[in-house]
């Protein structure tokens, strides 16, 4: 099976290499066929491996000192699931892209990068050691960089990809540091040896301020630093506070890319990392994780309320949902977190593809009528329900899943998280209650902004007409390349795929695969009250949104000129703050150091040089005037005496007399003194 998995990973790489050398439409087919094959292989792998124990295959990569580094595959439930998931998301996106990017001049380049991403992502989920994990972790970031900046002439796009890469780099450095700390502590990079059952991590403990491992011990601070590094990596990749700001900007890339990378797969890699290294964390660190996730989820949801850019709303909702997953990890709801990861991947990808179709059609409208509008702005949309029914239905399904309405996959995973959050808070002090409560509020906020999005886009009337009364518009669902992915993904958003019981998340096969304890025994009040309360209130909120946006009733809290709106609309001013707090000081530090380098260090060298020059001049003077000068002096004395004597021979009588007298006087003085 391991070789199957290897094939699944290498197929996109093969497509990438082939695409490097060919051009034109063929590239799309190469990539799509590769991902199709890969998906088929991964289904086989999944069937064989899921719940079938761990498969580990490795070969020596290289030897350094007496440490041998292996390159290998590690297939367990988590990686097999991710392998399948990535392929299942990537396949529709590839199909979608063939149409979506069909008219782009750099079509070939797009699929080349897409294949590179798929390879990196697939490799990331199956590798068995931390070095390779880091390598593909960063490769994923790199391919995302390439794809965000795909339209490299667009200034915002290249700003965004730079920002994305650098922010991810912060996380990468964190990850690198924690990998290296772990290596220093355990002398191995192997994931199984480290995090497996009875692995090295589970054998180590913190005692008396020391982090004691079987091999060595270092101060406990380094355990926190290692975990902090992983947090940082998770925050960067999964766009959690405080490193979340790159994700909304990353929406400058093609929408299909956003669907694949920035909604479903790459951003989930952070959660996947948490899943991989889960045994490392102690309670305090998990609490921190829960708080980060909770805060991010809430913050992103509030921001999503006011955004007008279709993709940006979805981006913030992604951040929010990722916050849910991170929090779930933090509250020990490991299985729910991964469950939500999977369901979220499907419905968010679906929503992005819907957005892609809408944007594509709006772009057509814009091009055909030469309008000066932003095709992504939901304020210009509306009433698309009738023109693109399939898309509308897909959006409804996706939206319902995102809100967590019953009968969708989102209901299963999200409610599971909420229920466990309440259960978790019961075991903690009262202050921790705020976490589940905020999550609850976030859920309602989610319901509101999803409703706002759908109502604005699909209901009412086409607001482009406000800009220009008569427009040619051929808005439709598009060809099969659009329809097929939407249908596929919509199906995946419904409950039967995950659980036969639409109301009990515990019965999902996916959930069961990751839990050891049987949660059915712990049926308590939360299990009924939360889903019910949540959904009822969600429906209320949706109706409220309907009232505001479709029936256009004026409601007081929706004035757009208060500080709360500004705060939300400007994304809590994070960009500005980061620019002022980090970017500018670092640049200033760079300039300052350059000044220092020029003036102080180089100045010091210049000083030395000048001293040297001065010394050499002194030596020169010595040479010229003292040593040479001595000879010159001799000649000069002779000459001077000659001249001196000659000067008496002026022929002037009085002068002679004067000289004589002077000599006499001198003689007398001489005589007197001696």
């Amino acid at each position: 099976m391991a070789y199957h998995a290897l094939a699944a990973v290498l197929l996109p790489l093969f497509a990438f290499v082939v695409n490097c050398f060919i051009k034109g439409k063929a590239t799309g087919w190469v990539s799509t066929i590769a991902i199709l094959l890969s998906a088929i292989v991964s289904i086989i792998v999944f069937n064989h491996t899921f719940n079938g124990g761990t498969i580990h295959l490795n070969r020596v990569w290289f030897t350094i000192g007496d440490t041998q580094l292996y390159a290998g595959l590690l297939l367990n439930n988590l990686s097999t699931l991710m392998l399948l998931l990535v392929n299942l998301i990537a396949l529709p996106v590839h199909i979608f892209s063939m149409a979506y990017m069909g008219h782009d001049k750099r079509y070939g380049r797009y699929f080349t990068c897409l294949s590179l991403f798929c390879f990196s992502m697939l490799a990331l989920v199956v590798v068995d050691n931390m070095v390779l994990f880091y390598a593909f972790w960063e490769m994923v970031g790199f391919s995302s960089y390439l794809l965000i900046g795909f339209w490299y002439k667009k200034e915002v796009a290249i700003q965004a990809n730079k920002k994305a890469f650098i922010m991810n780099r912060i996380g990468d450095v964190g990850l690198l540091i924690s990998i290296l700390v772990i290596y220093a502590q355990y002398h191995t990079f192997d994931l199984i040896k480290l995090f497996g059952i009875n692995g090295l991590i589970s054998q180590s403990y913190i005692k008396d301020g020391l982090w004691i491992a079987p091999a060595s011990s270092i101060p406990a601070a380094w355990q926190y630093i290692a975990c902090g590094g992983i947090f940082l990596a998770v925050c960067a990749k999964s766009a959690q506070f405080p490193l979340h700001t790159w994700l909304p900007d990353a929406m400058e890339g093609p929408t299909s890319v956003s669907a694949l990378i920035h909604a479903a797969t790459m951003v989930a890699a952070g959660i996947f990392l948490l899943g991989r290294v889960y045994p490392m964390f102690n309670t305090a660190e998990l609490d921190a994780l829960a708080i980060i996730g909770c805060f991010t989820a809430f913050m992103a949801a509030t921001i999503a309320l006011t955004q007008n850019d279709l993709k940006r709303i979805l981006a913030f909702s992604t951040i929010s949902q990722l916050g849910f997953m991170v929090m779930a990890m933090g509250i020990n709801a490991y299985a729910s977190s991964l469950f939500h990861l999977v369901t979220h991947a499907f419905f968010k990808c679906l929503l992005f593809l819907v957005a892609g179709v809408v944007i594509h059609e709006m772009q057509h409208v814009k091009d055909e009528n030469q309008l000066d509008i932003d095709p992504q702005n939901i304020l210009y949309m509306g009433g698309l329900r009738k023109r693109m029914p399939l898309t509308f239905i897909a959006a409804l399904i996706g939206g319902a899943a995102l809100v967590g309405l019953p009968l969708t996959s989102g209901y299963l995973s999200k409610d599971g998280i909420l229920i466990q959050a309440f259960e978790w808070s019961d075991t903690k002090s009262i202050g921790y209650k705020i976490v589940p409560i905020m999550m609850l509020i976030t859920s309602w906020l989610t319901a509101f902004y999803v409703a706002r999005l759908i109502f604005k886009v699909f209901f009412g009337k086409l607001r482009v007409l406000d800009v220009k009364p008569v427009v040619i518009c051929h808005i439709s669902d598009g060809g099969w390349q659009y329809r097929l992915p939407l249908i596929l993904l919509s199906i995946c958003c419904l409950f039967p795929v995950f659980s036969l019981n639409p109301l009990l998340y515990e019965q999902s096969w996916l959930f069961k695969a990751f839990t050891t304890a049987d949660h059915l025994e712990r049926m308590n009040i939360y299990h009924t009250i939360i889903p019910a309360g949540l959904n009822i209130l969600s429906i209320v909120v949706i109706y409220f949104a309907y009232a505001v946006y479709v029936q256009e009733r004026k409601m007081l809290p929706f004035a757009q000129n208060n500080w709360a709106f500004d705060f939300s609309y400007n994304q809590w001013y994070f960009n500005k703050a980061y620019n002022n707090i980090f970017v500018k000081p670092v640049l200033a530090l760079g300039s300052g150091l350059f000044w220092f380098d020029r003036k102080v260090i180089d100045g010091f060298i210049q000083l030395l040089q000048n001293i040297l020059l001065w010394l050499s001049k002194v030596a020169d003077v010595l040479d010229r005037y003292v040593i040479d000068g001595f000879l010159h002096l001799l000649t000069a004395i002779v000459q001077y005496i000659g001249n001196f004597v000659r000067s008496f021979q002026t022929g002037r009588v009085q002068y002679y007399l004067l000289s004589m007298l002077a000599v006499i006087v001198a003689w007398f003085i001489f005589k007197t003194l001696i």
Partner: protein, 182 residues
């Protein structure tokens, strides 16, 4: 302090003052005439040191001879010389004179130094001559004594001087004659 002393001081003051005037004067004719005064006063000093014959000779030869000769000389040399010389505008304090003054000053200090060190009044031979009554007093017939000495003791120098004098006169006459087409 007797009359001789007072006279001596007066005379020497005149000598020095007139000599200084000569040195300082820019006017040639004036300085020449001032030189007369110097010479006269000197003659007075001779008299004070009891050398009346020398004093007379001084007046005769210098005042009567040399100065007249000088006056003649530049009267002969023509008017324009005088003009040039007289308009010469030079101050004694000029910087050019500074070395000369310095040297002369130093020389003077040396001279004074030597004079004071010599303590001339107590030189051996002078005290001897006072003891032996060999010094001239204002009682004696000194002019006769000079005459005798000239003809006896200093006869040879006297003759040589007269020959020299004659040669000088002849030479001077020869030099100052108008040159013909030679």
């Amino acid at each position: 302090m007797n009359a001789a002393n007072i006279l001596f001081y007066i005379m020497s003051f005149i000598v020095l003052a007139s000599a200084l005037y000569v040195a300082a004067s820019k006017h040639l004719v004036r300085s020449v005439f001032m030189f007369f005064v110097t010479l006269f006063a000197l003659a007075g000093l001779y008299v004070l040191s009891l050398a009346d014959f020398v004093a007379v000779t001084q007046i005769v030869v210098y005042v009567g001879g040399i100065l007249v000769l000088i006056l003649f000389a530049f009267m002969l040399s023509g008017r324009e010389t005088l003009d040039v010389l007289q308009t010469e505008n030079r101050s004694i304090w000029k910087i050019n004179n500074l070395p000369a003054m310095l040297i002369v000053g130093l020389f003077f200090i040396i001279l004074i130094n030597v004079i004071l060190q010599t303590n001339a009044d107590h030189l051996g031979w002078i005290t001897d001559s006072i003891k032996l009554k060999n010094n001239i007093t204002n009682s004696g017939e000194m002019t006769a004594n000079i005459g005798v000495n000239l003809m006896t003791r200093y006869l040879l120098p006297f003759e040589i001087v007269s020959i020299l004098l004659m040669m000088a006169l002849v030479g001077a006459a020869h030099l100052s004659r108008k040159e013909q087409q030679a």
